[in-house]
Symmetry: C2
Subunit: 384 residues, 2 copies
């Protein structure tokens, strides 16, 4: 097992009716800005629950944080924060709202000249407006980590930052808030959670059996509940398990003491930035390509994954690993998720744009740092 440090101070308040606890979680007397997305929270009763719970607070709000939250939108919110001396941010929505709010929290107290430097130059974030979250879309894990991914419309870039000062003080997870989610969001969420686990699991063996089994626990649960999640019959426990899988997949725990990959995410971000694929869509395209490309580096883990998750029992590890890749792609397709670039009309010429950018940045992805722009080209060409 590798050395590690694990620290995660987010208070999770989980379950039915928990939004009513807001008044015990936000400091009394705080000037609160509620942030949200396209306004679905005003249709599904979540907004009303929030405002009722915070009736004794001085509230303002900022709506319109889009999927793949943009730097441009977030900077409008930063202006509003500064103008109103906001001292608490409450993100109400999915991962995009949470990520956007983390950036708003950091940029509002950023001392440098250009807040984009937080993303493009890893400029240090020593201070941020305290924030809390009400999660309504299980997927990104943003509710229990300190990461944020932000896109810049002007340059079609999608970059991330992370620092302890943007850990949510609390995250409220009420599974009932997910009842009104369109199926596409659920499908995307399943794939996002699945790939979060995979990026911390399918690397190489460092004798960390508990972390492996934790990763497998999330994958097995996710596969088990997926048909129910995508059926029209909504039930509380299935949504609760979906939500808890999402949080546990990316709160740092399963990655303790093990190598991590993240190449699928980084390549996927470029597909979203350039061509507008949803985050989950981009992952479903890229993952099988990365695995086929790295088959010989990942044989042991892919083979174990094939046996334990898909019940495979082929004689050679390489055969089991290969079939495991097909099983995974089949699973994505069973959710109604495309897995090929051609399904999005993305061509060889488009791929070149991605590779050129990665070459200029000198990007090297994967647990061995062996996936550069040339390897990304090979991976993406295999997905046309």
């Amino acid at each position: 097992m590798e050395n590690f440090t694990y620290y995660n101070p987010v208070k999770i308040v989980f379950g039915k009716g928990t939004i009513s606890q807001l008044g015990t979680l936000i400091p009394q007397g705080a000037k609160v800005m509620i942030t949200y997305g396209g306004g679905s929270i005003k249709k599904n009763n979540v907004y009303d629950q929030v405002v009722t719970a915070l009736k004794d607070y001085d509230l303002i709000e900022f709506g319109g944080i889009e999927p793949n939250p943009s730097y441009e939108t977030c900077m409008e919110a930063v202006e509003l924060c500064k103008k109103n001396n906001v001292d608490f941010l409450l993100a109400v929505g999915g991962g995009s709202v949470l990520d956007g709010t983390k950036f708003i929290a950091a940029a509002s107290r950023f001392k440098g000249e250009d807040s984009w430097d937080i993303l493009s130059k890893c400029a240090p974030v020593d201070d941020a407006i305290p924030l809390g979250a009400i999660l309504t879309l299980p997927a990104t894990g943003s509710e229990m980590n300190f990461f944020s991914v932000i896109s810049k419309n002007a340059t079609k870039e999608k970059l991330h930052f992370g620092c302890p000062s943007v850990y949510p003080l609390f995250s409220i997870l009420d599974p009932a808030t997910t009842y009104s989610l369109p199926q596409k969001y659920i499908r995307n969420g399943i794939v996002d959670i699945f790939v979060h686990v995979i990026e911390q699991y399918i690397t190489y063996n460092v004798h960390a059996p508990l972390q492996e089994r934790y990763a497998e626990s999330i994958l097995k649960t996710l596969i088990e509940i997926s048909p129910k999640l995508l059926s029209n019959k909504i039930d509380y426990d299935t949504r609760a398990n979906f939500m808890w899988c999402a949080t546990m997949a990316l709160n740092g725990l399963i990655g303790c003491g093990v190598p991590q990959d993240w190449s699928t995410h980084f390549i996927g971000h470029e597909l979203t930035a350039f061509f507008g694929l949803d985050h989950g869509e981009s992952l479903a395209v890229v993952l099988p390509g990365v695995w086929e490309h790295q088959l010989y580096n990942k044989t042991d883990k892919l083979s174990k994954y094939g046996q334990r998750i898909w019940g495979l029992s082929h004689s050679s590890p390489i055969e089991t690993a290969t079939i495991a890749i097909y099983e995974t792609e089949n699973f994505f397709r069973s959710l109604g998720m495309p897995t090929m670039l051609s399904e999005y009309n993305i061509t060889e010429k488009d791929i070149e744009k991605v590779c050129e950018r990665l070459k200029n940045r000198g990007s090297k992805f994967g647990e061995f740092g062996n996936i550069g722009s040339d390897q990304v080209r090979e991976i993406l060409l295999s997905r046309i």
Copy 2:
């Protein structure tokens, strides 16, 4: 799934050579009291590593915290803390040293008249001296929770308390510090960890498959590594996995949203308090008795446990559950652990003392609160 709140701000610093990071973890300029047990840390180089890492701090020390740390000993340490204006406590040892240090931290700033009230009357602990830990004996999970169990020699009582102000700020877990542990401590640790998981797992079904699989992950890993742990060949990864299993078994995570039992622990505490059994020894005696007594209340979970952990496939759940109990007792015995009270020369008359105390206290244990003094009598008589 049941509603829950999860909050655990302990920073875990895990791995080889991590004691050297102490100076970055304890506030500069703090007056530090190092607490420890019987002095093994002075023989195995741990003490030297600590003192070297803290060469720039003003240090005092308090040794002699015994297994099942006593109120009497801890109160001596409280006097020393007050006299020296200690503002940071560093526990170096196993669960007993950590538990004792949590109580010292709380009692040093307790405003009430009698610090024993913290344990006997759940007197609120609003403040405590900040503390950190270096764990040298994986077992209790005290390194990543806010619980503490303290014994009073004068009255032969063993009680617990828990409050967020005694969460360690950090816990350093260097698996190499366990190399010098006597086998008995490892055997006790395996059973303690195992039963921690069981108390949060073998209750009744609330549709929380991820929590079940996490619990099973720890049990499977523990069973897998036990022969290596107890062999004379010491290796780093086995010790690392042992340590991580211990921490994950009782940091609150696997108990999120599920019912919990803890009757084995509460009954076991009485066996330790009255008759001096080691904590792990008491659990190995009590658990099979509780399970046999509660077989019909726990059939579903015991049957699932039997299938998933011991690979049983009997036709009826009750048969699988019954065999699962035998398998568990056999596992304990395979570690060299006694499982019957008669092996400790404890008689029917002795059992009556336990039952009388529990009757006077009005104790009701178990996930249904249906285990009172009469049921404890039946359980313990079955273990003679």
